[in-house]
Symmetry: C2
């Protein structure tokens, strides 16, 4: 006997939970498989059967159970995204594009905001793996390679978007090139002492790349190599000290290149809080190209990342892997670097 017969008895008196495919089958007088065929839009179905089934689905308010489907199919239409901080407009924008791209392809997106904490990141990646996501997008990566291996072992493809690691596919911005654009712009304006202000927002690796780009561009321009200015408004007190030290040192910078737009904006805020003026006393360049920077009041000169393209290419890469059933450790990972664009606004000008 088919199980349905048994259930028919059990369910004599109004079933508890939500209607299942079996309820629909009974209600429309066909078998489970036929209902399944209708749902999945199979071909070779008599028009009237399909109609009857559809009617039953509607009447019962039936909704397929993705859990059961995915368990059987051994694959989900779910993606995971690891992001460091949704509050940073750049990441919010990136995440938004990623989610919308995924949704367009019928994928649900589990978004995990790790606050940049490695422990949280680990916990979340494992959560995603247990959920059997079909792929993981790292918008932030703390660098714990163990996690990538775990994903590989589970044959879950990983792609980095705006982060780069040779252990997984990634599409990121050419950070060094971007830094060079910033420095050349400043040098072109006549600045000779250009300092770098690292940001705590992106992962260390990204920040380091921008710092490298700054360093080499400064060298190439024949300008003096200044110390990095550690300015962190998150750590109250610490901020002023380092910044003041730089400003009152023997060779005070006349321009700053900040690791991210957010840091650039905070820096400007801090400078002006001290009675200084941007760009009159100092020029400041950011990195990212977040929307608020466009406001005339801010007028932030920045290195704009191609956000939309970053997301799109990353997703294409990921779906290519998913489609190919790849994700193992044998595959050769591709590293794609997109070229950023310098956007000149009013936070930069000639040195005083």
């Amino acid at each position: 006997l088919e199980r349905s017969t048994k259930e028919a008895v059990v369910q004599g008196g109004r079933k508890a939970g939500r209607p299942t495919i079996i309820d629909v089958a009974r209600h429309s007088g066909v078998s489970k498989s036929t209902v399944s065929n209708v749902i999945r839009g199979a071909e070779h179905l008599a028009e009237d059967t399909r109609a009857r089934v559809l009617a039953a689905i509607d009447e019962l308010g039936y909704r397929p159970n993705a859990l059961a489907r995915d368990l059987k199919r051994r694959r989900t239409a779910t993606l995971g995204v690891i992001v460091g901080n949704l509050t940073n407009p750049f990441y919010a924008e990136l995440t938004r594009h990623i989610e919308q791209h995924a949704a367009r392809l019928g994928y649900a997106t589990i978004i995990c905001d790790t606050d940049g904490a490695p422990a949280t990141e680990r916990q979340r990646v494992h959560l995603l793996l247990e959920q059997r996501v079909s792929g993981i997008v790292m918008v932030h990566f703390s660098g714990e390679l163990r996690l990538i291996e775990d994903a590989e072992r589970a044959s879950v493809p990983v792609v980095g978007v705006s982060v780069c690691e040779r252990r997984f596919d990634c599409v990121a911005t050419d950070d060094e090139k971007g830094a060079r654009l910033a420095v050349e712009h400043l040098a072109g304006l006549g600045h000779e002492r250009i300092a770098f202000v690292p940001s705590g927002y992106p992962e260390a690796a990204t920040n380091a790349a921008r710092q490298r780009g700054w360093r080499s561009a400064v060298r190439r321009a024949g300008l003096p190599q200044l110390d990095v200015v550690n300015f962190s408004p998150m750590v109250p007190g610490a901020s002023q000290r380092d910044l003041l030290a730089a400003l009152h040192g023997p060779t005070p910078p006349t321009a700053f290149f900040a690791g991210t737009d957010l840091t650039a904006l905070e820096l400007i805020d801090e400078l002006e809080r001290g009675g200084l003026s941007v760009p009159r006393d100092f020029s400041v360049v950011g990195f990212d190209g977040i929307a608020v920077g466009e406001l005339r009041r801010l007028g932030l000169t920045t290195v704009r990342q191609p956000t939309q393209e970053l997301a799109n290419l990353g997703m294409e890469r990921l779906f290519a892997r998913i489609g190919a059933g790849e994700g193992g450790s044998s595959v050769r990972h591709t590293q794609r670097r997109l070229t950023p664009e310098l956007v000149v606004r009013e936070s930069t000008g000639p040195p005083r």
Copy 2:
């Protein structure tokens, strides 16, 4: 025969997929159930059995399959979030708090950015329902009640955070009160002609509440009732026209209360683009309390929503429903309104 025996044969030559509970069972010489007990941290387990199982799990790199677990248990540890636009810092912050609250309780969060489109919203809610999420957080709601009924029918509790609807539980900001705070602040500065600038960012209902609050506060203060100023920088051309009409009309406003901070910032930008100055020529108050508004360059006076509390109370409400197995249509929905706080900065001052 237990199925395991059959599988033992089938799997003679290295199994294809990922290890299952059965692999662990065989590897440690116990039964499926025992492994299950270990995983779930059941009590009354011999210490050495537990150790052996744990060792096997580690060796095989076993990871429980949440799909199978949830299917069997008939409930997931997954939440859905519907948000209108992650790019708006206020929503990004709210979403972040929601996700982190959920994660702390072991829940995964499927975040859906609907771009405010009702069709997208409907599609996503249904997606969530098929995923059998345990609850849905509406950070944006287009107003399609059908969706709420669908969720109710599936006994999936819904809670609105920062949106209010009497058809589901919600915790939102007291928009009318907030608007009143804004108007009273402006009136206190001596402004007599205070206009409202609606925002396209929150749903119509929220915006309408703020507009109502403005209207009644203006009336109560005995000030003239001005027309609403439709200023939408998203619709190029349309923006300037409406704004200019207001500025050059017979009774030009001296202050603007904008529906959201983003709109306030865009308004200031537009005014100043036209050579006007804020707060010298016009005062502007926003609503939300987004972080960038704190920058001295912007110095936005605003009505700050208690974001963190909004998220926390909303989640507590949701989890209370989930725990109670509620979500049906019989429950009485609670509406909670939190009081916002006026934050005075430099975008407001006495009228010229």
